[in-house]
């Protein structure tokens, strides 16, 4: 049975108090698995009671035998339901920072160290219920827990449950975890942003000597280098990925500045910056970021994008607990 309303919150509070915060990884021990009959289980119980009364009334021993067999079967399924969770190990896997408005995804590795497969495990947060998964004996599966986000900053996964109704749906066993995990949420890139202002040329601090004009030589490839600078001919010859470097002061390198982003309020201006960063990275351009009290020198690539977006997300952000 799913508890509801006030009572449900009381139970959650009680569980939180008796279990305490979790340390990764969490093994599902006996003490942290709860079992209650489902609605169907209650209906089944009522049916058994009717069968018991009928059999006793007619002194029908085979009827009694059937009733007792089914009652014992229900009891065995309760045990099986409990055991279906027991000794599983949940450990934190990665998180993928979303843009505000998207779901934050907390990945969870569920491992089954036992010699029997576990079936129909449902992970659920306060708002979402995942599709049931099964884990073979000795196997592991990744469960993605989703938490909706509304604004940039930190989002927390305070509590989630792993539930199972296996095998008969007469009982529901569940374990509650309080992982205290956090995930950064990037500001949502503005839908309609003005184009970034032209780069101010060489005068700015931190602009490099690299440009797009004159071929200056080859260097080793690093992840995040723009694909259009890869020396494909050299690759075809030697099998090594090399990057063509160009020199020249001709191309100025943009440093996106909060001051330049024209919008109504701070959040919107951060959104505009996020738009510029995302677009620039998509075009494999080099860019930097300047916020009050923080300057990220220009770099191309995915790493730079993450670094800049994270800086935007954390800029004057509120702590997750107050969110």
């Amino acid at each position: 049975m799913r508890l509801s309303g006030f009572f449900r919150r009381r139970v959650q509070y009680w569980i939180r108090r008796r279990q305490g915060a979790d340390r990764d990884p969490v093994t599902f021990r006996r003490g942290r698995i709860y079992v209650l009959p489902t609605k169907l289980g209650v209906v089944f119980g009522l049916m058994l009671f009717g069968m018991l009364l009928g059999s006793l009334n007619y002194a029908n021993n085979l009827g009694l035998g059937l009733t007792f067999l089914l009652a014992s079967l229900a009891f065995v399924t309760m045990q099986a339901c409990h055991r279906n969770l027991e000794a599983l190990i949940a450990s934190e896997a990665g998180t993928e920072p979303p843009f505000a408005g998207q779901d934050a995804v907390f990945e969870l590795a569920l491992a089954n160290p036992g010699r029997l497969a576990r079936y129909d495990l449902e992970a659920s947060t306060a708002a979402t219920i995942n599709d049931p998964v099964s884990i073979p004996a000795g196997g592991e599966t990744i469960v993605k827990l989703r938490v909706a986000t509304r604004r940039r900053g930190w989002v927390a996964l305070d509590r989630f449950e792993i539930t199972t109704r296996f095998p008969y749906g007469l009982f529901r066993a569940w374990a509650v975890l309080h992982p205290g995990r956090r995930c950064l949420v990037y500001p949502r890139p503005a839908d309609a942003a003005p184009p970034p202002p032209p780069a101010p040329g060489l005068g700015s601090a931190g602009a490099t000597q690299r440009g797009d004009d004159d071929f200056a030589g080859l260097r080793d490839y690093h992840p995040g280098d723009p694909p259009r600078h890869i020396a494909w001919k050299a690759y075809a010859k030697g099998g090594e990925l090399l990057i063509k470097e160009f020199s020249g002061a001709a191309e100025p390198v943009p440093i996106f500045d909060l001051e330049q982003a024209q919008a109504a309020d701070l959040e919107s201006r951060l959104s505009v910056l996020a738009r510029w960063i995302v677009d620039a990275e998509a075009r494999s351009e080099t860019f930097g970021l300047r916020l009050p009290g923080l300057e990220i020198p220009p770099q191309p690539g995915e790493q730079q994008r993450r670094r800049c977006l994270a800086a935007l997300a954390e800029f004057q952000a509120v702590a997750p607990d107050d969110a």
Binding site: L40, V43, F44, M47, M51, L53, G54, S55, L56, N57, Y58, A59, N60, N61, L62, G63, L64, G65, L66, T67, F68, L69, L70, A71, S72, L73, F75, V76, T77, Q79, A80, R83, E86, A87, P113, G114, R115, L116, A117, Y119, D120, E122, D131, P132, V133, S134, P136, A137, G138, R165, F166, P167, Y168, G169
Partner: protein, 649 residues
């Protein structure tokens, strides 16, 4: 939402289980009920496959009302066992018409289990169990299938549910043995209109001979003392006082006072296990003195009658006296009743009786001359007597002259009445097959018999069996002894094979034990069982205590069994040995961090404990080789084991 294939699969499971649960009921359900249920099942499967629309709420309501009306029309009630079962089956079929969500499937499986229970209300014999147990298993397997939430890998339904049923069995056994049984009932017994073969409160010519070929067991008797001789084994059933010229019946004149009985000689004590008869009579040896008063009352004509029809196996102890004198005085009302003749019927018999009585001189002499007539004239005792005219006794005595026990009893009693001697027909069973394997007597339907009781001033009600005059071997050695070879073959009564006969007796013994120990398991047997456990004078609380202890023990065993089943996988031997090595180091304060690779760990060990460095390296390298190199030999493992054993930091 499940994909269509999965939906269809689940539906097939549910329907298969439901149909299986219906099988034990086919014999007593009206044909239209079975037909309708099967038709709906078939239509529902087709609809799922073809994507037809299911009927809407209005149509479903119409069908439901129609089905209920049909049940009332067919069974005249919906609360009895027959009507209730029919309604349950029909409602299950209707539920099928709106089955979409998994929950609907589960409810149908529950109904299937209910149908299993009602099968036991009909019959508790071994065959029913053999039929129901696989159904219970199938229902459990189907529930496993339809209650699944995901579509991923699933356990094999029959294996998994069978394993769970097996685990449930010991618990169920403890509950069965020690759950307190109540005496009496909360509400009335189930009423069933089953047509069971056997004796009824009426007897027309040919009724008993119809039973003669029926080998079904009517009841079994276990005697506390020696087995009485066949001539004393008259099991009294319905006493038939009224005659309409063709049919003898019990009549509805039940309010006479019972004439006194004096019991003579030694008693016979025995236990009868009666199969369901659908009638309100118990059978006892003449003349019964003691019987369970809660079960039955004795009527004025010495029958034992129950309050409600016997629809399940019934066991009772009784004491009878083969020698007795019943009814030294006969009240005028009873005399009148027992001289009653159907006006204007069987005139030739009446005439014959009166002339024979006049010739005989005394009542006793008259009875002898009638028996002599049956014996000496051309009367035949046969299993297949010809049908009789409306004046059945005239037709029998003067035309056909072939009859079974009922014909002779009927003719004899009527002649007595015509001659002014109070007389009545008594139905019951006579004789019985001794089962040497179980040590009890089997009374089959083929032992059904009818005889006469006449009231004579000097001896009161006196049993006279006219069949004994025509076919004395019927009484002494049973029906087979009296029949010709053809009739034996036709009836299949011949047991010329000793092996078959033995097999039959063994099977009957199994059934008798089943009745004694399972069907009739009651409070008394529970107390006997407790005494075996050393509980003297057990009462209700002892029973509860033993039940509690038994359940606790079984739960502990179950828990242990499950723990063993769910025990963690054993690591491979190389890992096992490496872990032992790491544990020994940890005890000395060198603990391996979770993220530390084996080689890094070995290097750290070398740094911290230079004395152990080479051993640690050797163990680590062997372990890595065993784990990750495709080519390693069993000698490596032996080597590793030896190194770890000798590794004492």
């Amino acid at each position: 939402m499940l994909e269509p294939r999965e939906q269809f699969r689940r539906l097939s499971w549910t329907i298969a289980a439901l149909v299986a649960a219906l099988v034990p009921h086919v014999a007593h359900l009206r044909i239209w009920v079975t037909g309708l249920v099967l038709a709906i099942c078939a239509w529902r499967l087709l609809a799922e496959r073809r994507g037809w629309r299911l009927p809407g709420a209005v149509l479903r309501t119409v069908i439901a009302l129609g089905a209920t009306a049909g049940v009332i029309a067919s069974y005249s009630t919906i609360t009895g066992l027959d009507g209730g079962t029919a309604l349950l089956a029909l409602m299950a079929a209707l539920k099928l018409l709106e089955t979409r969500a998994p929950r609907d499937h589960v409810v149908l499986i529950f109904i299937g289990w209910f149908l299993c229970l009602s099968a036991f209300l009909y019959a508790q014999d071994i065959l029913t169990v053999v039929c129901v147990v696989p159904t219970v298993w199938l229902l459990a397997a189907a529930l496993l299938e339809v209650a699944r939430r995901g579509q991923g890998p699933a356990p094999a339904p029959f294996r998994a549910s069978g394993a769970m049923l097996l685990k449930a069995l010991p618990l169920a056994l403890v509950l069965f043995l020690f759950f307190p049984r109540i005496a009496g009932s909360f509400w009335g017994a189930p009423s069933s209109e089953r047509a069971l073969t056997g004796l009824t409160d009426e007897m027309s010519p040919g009724d008993i001979s119809d039973l003669a070929l029926n080998d079904t067991v009517a009841f079994r008797v276990r005697f506390k003392g020696p087995l009485p001789p066949p001539s004393q084994r008259y099991w009294r059933g319905p006493v038939l006082n009224e005659f309409d010229g063709y049919t003898w019946s019990r009549g509805d004149n039940q309010f006479y006072s019972r004439p006194r009985v004096s019991y003579l000689g030694l008693p016979v004590d025995y236990t009868v296990t009666l199969e369901p008869t659908g009638q309100r009579m118990l059978f006892a040896l003449d003349m019964v003195e003691q019987w369970p008063a809660v079960m039955a009352q004795q009527t004025w004509d010495y029958q034992l009658r129950t309050r409600s029809p016997v629809n399940s196996v019934l066991q009772y102890d009784a004491r009878s006296y083969p020698r007795y004198q019943a009814g030294a005085q006969l009240s005028p009302a009873l005399r009148h009743l027992h001289l009653q003749l159907a006006a204007g019927r069987n005139p030739r018999t009446i005439q014959l009786a009166r002339s024979m009585r006049a010739a005989a001189g005394s009542d006793r002499e008259f009875t002898r001359s009638v028996l002599a007539m049956f014996r000496d004239q051309e009367f035949y005792y046969t299993l297949t007597p010809p049908g009789l005219e409306r004046d059945s006794v005239d037709d029998f005595l003067f035309n056909t002259r072939q009859g079974f026990c009922g014909h002779f009893a009927s003719a004899f009693t009527m002649m007595m009445r015509a001659a002014g001697i109070p007389a009545r027909v008594v139905g019951g069973y006579q004789g019985g097959d001794w089962n040497p394997i179980g040590g009890y007597l089997i009374l089959r339907q083929s032992h059904a018999h009818a005889w006469s009781e006449v009231w004579l001033p000097e001896s009161g009600w006196t049993r006279i069996d006219p069949t004994a005059a025509v076919a004395p071997e019927r009484i002494e050695r049973g029906l087979e002894a009296t029949l010709s070879g053809d009739e034996l073959l036709e009836g299949g009564l011949g047991r010329d094979s000793l092996l078959l006969w033995r097999a039959g007796m063994v099977w009957d013994n199994v059934n008798a034990r089943w009745n004694d120990w399972v069907v009739q398991f009651n409070r008394l047997q529970q107390e006997q069982l407790l005494r075996k456990f050393g509980v003297d004078d057990p009462d209700w609380q002892d029973l509860a205590l033993v039940l509690g202890v038994g359940l606790a023990v079984m739960l502990a065993l179950l828990s242990g069994w499950l723990a063993w089943e769910f025990r963690p996988r054993r690591a491979d031997p190389a890992t096992e040995n490496y872990r032992r090595f790491a544990r020994r180091l940890a005890r000395r304060g060198v603990e391996r961090a979770p993220h530390e690779a084996p080689r890094d760990f070995a290097m750290r060990v070398r740094r911290l404990r230079p004395d152990l460095g080479s051993a640690a390296s050797a163990i680590t390298e062997l372990y890595l080789k065993l784990r990750y190199m495709p080519a390693h030999s069993s000698r490596d493992l032996i080597l590793l084991r030896g190194l770890v054993r000798r590794f004492h930091p």
